[in-house]
């Protein structure tokens, strides 16, 4: 039978033969659990007993849950604060690092190091930095010069930025590397032409560098947005005793999903939240595709 196929058909057969493994892998590891999660979001299940069908009940509970809206807001605060701050800082560092020759490799390594460090270890070290006197580094410094202590984590207003800071810091290394690659890809001739015309540095930055970095910026914005929307390990480890606290001030959506599923054993409710998160991430990704297409 194989013999009777045309060359084109044979190519297709072979292509599918090679694709079979990843396709199978993806269906079992990705698509089946995704579909299952959507199914569970319409059910009531405590992991032990039978699953019972409840229709939209989990979603109705979600809409009426004040904690969900608080958490929803937190998730976007992480995004809205985290993305621009990390974008600006990483661009400034990359821009200057690109011009620097002395110890360039060493400095680049230093900036990249936090990205390679375990988020759990980092979160715990920062958690201890933030403690009040007598063990917290920051507050000990403040106290030693006679400034009143700052409640970093034990405050409904300061806690979220305090948790966000190490997360931003940890992601910088990666963004700096991407920015530097983007800067290197800009043809030198543009800069030479600009210099011949006697244009100021500021104009070069605004008219040449940033416009030509557009696709790099879009990539970093989308990439870090997804990262901040999914923030979990920093928050969880810095607030383990009272996850997402105080008073849900730092709780992101992923942490609420985790708690619903594995401390309250309400799998249906957790799945419903997961579906919401999935839709948010889908929207962000589609926006990415749209913007990237536009930039070409």
């Amino acid at each position: 039978m194989y013999r009777n196929l045309s060359i084109r058909q044979k190519q297709i057969v072979w292509a599918w033969a090679f694709l079979a493994v990843p396709v199978l892998f993806y269906s079992v590891i990705r698509f089946y659990p995704t579909g299952n999660a959507i199914l569970i979001s319409f059910q009531d299940w405590n992991l032990l007993g039978k699953r019972t069908w409840t229709g939209w009940e989990n979603y109705i509970k979600l809409v009426n849950d004040p904690v969900f809206w608080k958490v929803f807001k937190n998730t976007f605060v992480y995004l809205i604060l985290g993305t621009p701050i990390s974008l600006v800082i990483s661009f400034v560092i990359a821009y200057h690092l690109d011009k620097l020759r002395f110890m360039h490799g060493f400095l680049r390594m230093l900036y990249f190091l936090p990205f390679m460090t375990s988020a759990v270890a980092m979160a715990w070290v920062w958690r201890w930095f933030y403690q009040p006197v007598p063990i917290g580094l920051f507050n000990n410094l403040l106290a030693s010069v006679g400034i009143p202590q700052i409640a970093f984590l034990n405050s409904t207003t300061n806690a979220l930025p305090s948790v966000l800071a190490p997360a931003v810091w940890a992601g910088l290394g990666f963004q700096i590397i991407i920015f530097m690659a983007g800067l290197r890809a800009i043809p030198r001739s543009y800069y030479e032409a600009a210099r011949i015309d006697g244009v100021s540095n500021w104009t070069v930055l605004w008219e040449i560098t940033i416009p030509l970095l557009r696709s790099t910026i879009v990539f970093i914005v989308v990439f870090s947005s997804i990262g901040f929307l999914r923030i979990f390990d920093h928050v969880f480890n810095m607030t383990t005793n009272n996850p997402g606290g105080p008073l849900n001030a730092t709780k992101p959506l992923v942490l609420m999903i985790y708690e619903s599923a594995f401390t309250n054993y309400d799998m249906g409710y957790a799945a419903a939240q997961t579906v919401v998160l999935f839709l948010i991430l889908l929207a962000v990704s589609l926006l990415q595709l749209y913007l990237l297409r536009d930039s070409k």
Partner: protein
């Protein structure tokens, strides 16, 4: 000669094979599951060894999992006819296991209800339902007041406080602050995230004249006058008496371990890790009595139950094993190996155990201990954590904050019981 020896060898092989098969025909193998914790596994290994020596026809195979995977594995295995015949579970999970038909009641012939009622400490009666016991503990835990002997000596304090008033006075002497008024050493640790929510629920509320729950723990009742007084006392330790700070040194037990806290309320499971702390000299006392002399305590425990998977001869073997691991002998072994308290007064209240300087206060506490019937312990704890934070961070009044907490906790209970 060569041939004879060969024959003999063949014969020997045949006989031993026959013996092996005969042995296999009589032997029953049952499986026991628990979560992984070094000392618990070691203690259970010893119990299994003793049990098998007494019952040569039964083999017990123990499997253990990390705590985080435990529930998932049990839930997946038993309905599939796999997994344990005897399983260990937290007392608070009993309802879930019963409803999911993972465990079966213990038969009255082997485990008569009246005998268990009279032989075990009273809080074990929470494991009773539909006229039978569903599960039984080998060991139980309770709370006590840990105190730092070095700091006591340094402050010239003679002994641990016996009442709540003395507790405040003692704590005042143990508190130290730097020039700016920042606490550098606390008199007593505070934090609802640790064991304090048990201390509040079952001890302080009762000592101020209240009853924390009604209707077999289905109705929250601590928002009344007694509860408000109890929470005022508790938050007052930090806010008016200034003998503690919430979140001091991150975690209460860390502060005590580091020698920066004079007193600390914690469970008997903390003994092991405190013993490992070099340079820390500590003692234990019963929880201080209330204004009218009321003593109370909170007790929790892990229980063992026979699963629905055990049938026929495995069922019989599982019952025998259950009987052994809840025997006096097993309890003493558990106390000596794990440091968890015996579940029966006949073992706990022996002269030696009840007057032990470390275990004694915990064991004496068991006599008046209560066991909260949690439906979701971490959820119900969170409610009290939030109550204290509303007072400390948002300036809410104690009464309002506690009323809100009671309402939230009632919602958790209703959602569970009215399913």
């Amino acid at each position: 000669m060569g041939i004879t020896s060969l024959k003999r060898a063949a014969l020997a092989a045949a006989t031993s094979a026959a013996a092996l098969f005969a042995g296999a025909a009589n032997a029953v193998e049952i499986e026991y599951w628990q979560y992984f914790f070094d000392a618990r596994v070691a203690a259970m290994e010893q119990l299994i060894e003793n049990f098998q020596a007494e019952n040569p026809d039964i083999t017990v195979k123990m499997t253990h999992f990390p705590y985080a995977d435990y529930r998932t594995k049990v839930a997946a295995a038993i309905p599939a006819g796999e997994g344990p015949d005897v399983v260990q579970l937290f007392y608070g999970w009993l309802n879930d296991y019963v409803e999911a038909e993972l465990i079966q009641p213990l038969p009255a012939e082997a485990f008569p209800v009246e005998t268990i009622d009279s032989e075990f400490f009273p809080m074990v009666q929470a494991m009773k339902g539909d006229g039978a016991y569903w599960a039984l503990p080998t060991a139980v835990r309770s709370l006590a007041l840990f105190y730092n002997e070095r700091l006591f000596e340094e402050a010239g304090i003679e002994g641990p406080p016996a009442t709540l008033d003395e507790l405040v006075e003692t704590a005042k002497k143990l508190t130290k602050a730097d020039g700016a008024g920042n606490l550098t050493q606390v008199g007593i640790t505070a934090g609802m995230t640790a064991q304090d929510h048990h201390w509040f629920r079952e001890v302080l509320v009762r000592q101020f004249g209240g009853e924390p729950y009604l209707d077999d723990y289905k109705t929250v009742n601590y928002a009344g006058e007694a509860g408000v007084k109890a929470l005022e006392f508790y938050t007052g330790l930090a806010n008016t008496e200034k003998v503690t700070a919430f979140g001091f040194m991150d975690e209460p037990q860390a502060a005590f371990k580091a020698g920066r806290a004079g007193m600390h309320i914690d469970g008997s499971f903390r003994i092991g890790s405190l013993n490992k702390q070099r340079g820390l000299k500590w003692g234990v006392a019963e929880l201080p009595a209330g204004p009218d002399g009321t003593q109370s305590n909170y007790s929790s425990y892990w229980v063992n139950a026979v699963t629905t998977k055990a049938e026929g001869e495995k069922y019989d073997a599982a019952l025998k094993f259950m009987a052994y691991i809840t025997s006096d002998e097993a309890m003493q072994i558990w106390l000596d190996t794990v440091g968890e308290l015996p579940a029966k007064p006949s073992v706990g209240m022996t002269e030696k155990n009840a007057s032990d300087p470390v275990f004694g206060p915990f064991i004496r506490g068991l006599e008046y201990a209560h066991t909260t019937k949690f439906v979701n312990e971490s959820g119900q704890r969170q409610v009290l954590v939030d109550a204290v934070e509303r007072i400390n961070l948002e300036g809410a009044s104690v009464a309002d904050s506690l009323a809100a907490a009671a309402e939230e906790e009632q919602k958790i209970l209703d959602e569970y019981y009215n399913k």
